[in-house]
């Protein structure tokens, strides 16, 4: 009765209503995990400090590298930091939202994935929110600070289009990273102890996109543009913001394709997840 009433008031068809429910369930689960880890405030603050210091060390490495080289692929140190910050923000946000997906193999092995399947909540939402911890903000906040500094220090021609495009580019980066993370996590449906192999795509992708990717040579730039589209996380957005021609000679319109790539990759990720879930057989005993 209550259900029909709310349907009438919302006027949404059932599938869309379900879709609107998922983020709220996610938020509730994330909040539960946050309250759980907040029971140990000392440990939480130490972990957060640790994550922050680790990002600062990575940033320091970028600065040291540019200090020795002067420019890399025509990028100065602040332009390099812009690339770093775009990558670190996107991966940090993806890790905050869905970082636990790479523990899928563990859940399958211990049987806790079966528990998720019998609950009346999407298993993807449960898996993504599993072990949610605010300490991951320790990666995002420094990235945002460096992003702001880099945006101010770089010589950027702030047209209205660029101002409007910035949040779109950031959101696309987050969606691309989240999708890569999910696809890599789904590998564990087929090989339960492949977590480390998945890490070479997820954390490896992060390490790769933290520098102007032109330094890796044309072959690699093409494969991270057309095969695993990580170039749209930091490289193409940076080229657009700085109004640079692509030094590897790829067409200039690519830099506007970020949002399209993000949506396409998200659809692929959803299909891979469904395929894996349909093929999943419990480990037994």
């Amino acid at each position: 009765m209550a259900d029909t009433l709310s349907t009438r008031r919302w006027g949404l068809p059932a599938p869309l209503r379900d879709l609107a429910r998922e983020p709220r369930t996610y938020a509730r689960l994330a909040w539960t995990w946050t309250r759980a880890v907040a029971q140990y405030p000392m440990a939480l603050s130490l972990f957060t400090l640790g994550v922050t210091l680790a990002s600062l060390a990575e940033m320091g490495a970028v600065v040291v590298v540019f200090a020795h080289a002067g420019t890399l692929a025509g990028f100065t140190v602040y332009e390099g930091l812009l690339v770093y910050a775009l990558a670190a923000f996107s991966f940090g946000a993806a890790q905050l939202l869905t970082g636990s997906v790479d523990r899928l193999g563990e859940h399958i092995r211990t049987g806790s994935f079966d528990t998720m399947l019998v609950r009346p909540v999407s298993p993807l939402v449960q898996l993504a929110a599993d072990q949610f911890s605010p300490r991951r903000f320790g990666r995002i906040v420094p990235a945002l600070v460096v992003l702001v500094v880099a945006l101010v220090m770089c010589d950027i021609d702030w047209t209205l289009e660029r101002i409007l495009m910035l949040p779109v580019l950031l959101a696309s980066g987050v969606v691309i990273c989240t999708s890569v993370w999910l696809i890599a996590g789904c590998l564990q449906f087929f090989a339960t102890d492949a977590r480390e192999a998945a890490n070479s795509v997820t954390y490896g992708g992060q390490a790769l996109t933290e520098y102007p990717i032109a330094i890796y040579g044309r072959g690699l730039v093409r494969s991270v543009t057309y095969v695993v589209p990580l170039a749209f996380v930091s490289w193409q957005p940076a080229l657009h913001l700085l109004d640079r021609p692509d030094p590897t000679g790829l067409p200039g319109f690519l830099r506007f394709l970020g949002p399209v790539v993000a949506v396409a990759l998200a659809l692929v990720a959803a299909q891979v997840w469904r395929f894996g879930l349909r093929r999943y057989r419990s480990t037994g005993s």
């Binding site: 130490l46 640790g50 490495a61 890399l72 390490a207």
Partner: protein, 268 residues
């Protein structure tokens, strides 16, 4: 001694069961090695020599680091010795009942793990580096021996540091904070994040004498035959490593005595 040999063999066998994880791990190390190497190659393309390092030196060090990463386990921010969890959970009581020393037992087990990991994860990772990049190989049989000895000492130092982290649980109750801290300091101070040669020379000289450098930087310099080693050669480097290994193990033995006198096991 026979007990230790048996524990060593069991440690080796136990880790030989996770074969898929081993391949996945070697792949990951190779990918990270390749990414780091390409970044450094770009730097050295702009400046052919930095503080006595050239491009192939830097690339070699990257792959020494990646080959030893899973052997010394220095970058793990989570407890990487089972002992840590056993101190927290209280199962360490069982370990203490055994008529062998706690330190000897865990060292034998960990060296078994390290041997297997070195042969089947470290060496393949280094070979990928050899295939893809201009990686330097030891020039003479004597140097091969020096490099292998250096890798063994690096492993012992890695074990001793992780054992000390585990023991801290007797005082801190939960040692995970210390594990995180050591997992963050180590890659920077060891020359894993970047070769120490790229740091300001004053800082690099201090870091070179700390135990972490003995796990990547010193083995790499021994392989490269650098005169920046303490005493100007491989012998000095090995002496520094041996010094740290002995010092840390003696400290660990002393601390084990203190810890076991403190421990109170509840229930029965």
């Amino acid at each position: 001694m026979r007990v230790h040999a048996a524990v060593y063999a069991r440690g080796l066998r136990r880790h030989s069961t996770y074969r898929a994880a081993l391949v996945a791990g070697a792949l990951t190390n190779a990918v990270f090695g390749a990414i780091n190497a390409m970044v450094l190659l770009a730097v050295f393309a702009a400046r052919p020599e930095i503080n006595g390092y050239d491009a192939s030196d830097a690339v070699t060090q990257v792959f020494v680091g990646q080959a030893l990463i899973a052997v010394t386990m220095i970058v793990n921010t989570a407890p990487s010795l089972d002992l840590a969890e056993r101190v927290r959970g209280g199962e360490v009581a069982t370990d203490l009942l055994r008529p062998v020393s706690l330190l000897g037992w865990w060292m034998a087990e960990d060296l078994g793990r390290a041997t297997f990991t070195f042969l089947f994860r470290g060496v393949p990772t280094f070979c990928v580096g050899l295939l893809l990049f201009d990686v330097v190989l030891p020039g003479s049989p004597v140097q091969v021996v020096a490099v292998l000895l250096s890798a063994v000492l690096a492993t012992v130092i890695g074990f001793a540091l992780r054992y000390l982290c585990s023991l801290s649980g007797f005082w801190l109750l939960d040692s995970r904070g210390l594990w995180t801290a050591s997992g963050l300091v180590a890659p920077v101070a060891a020359g894993m994040l970047l070769p120490l040669a790229l740091f300001p020379p004053a800082l690099a000289d201090v870091l070179r004498y700390l135990p972490w450098a003995s796990m990547v930087q010193i083995p790499a310099e021994i392989l490269l035959g650098k005169d920046s080693l303490p005493g100007g050669g491989a012998f000095g480097g090995l002496a520094l490593q041996a010094g740290w290994a002995v010092a840390l193990l003696v400290f660990a033995a002393w601390l084990t005595g203190r810890a076991t006198r403190r421990v109170v096991i509840q229930g029965g």
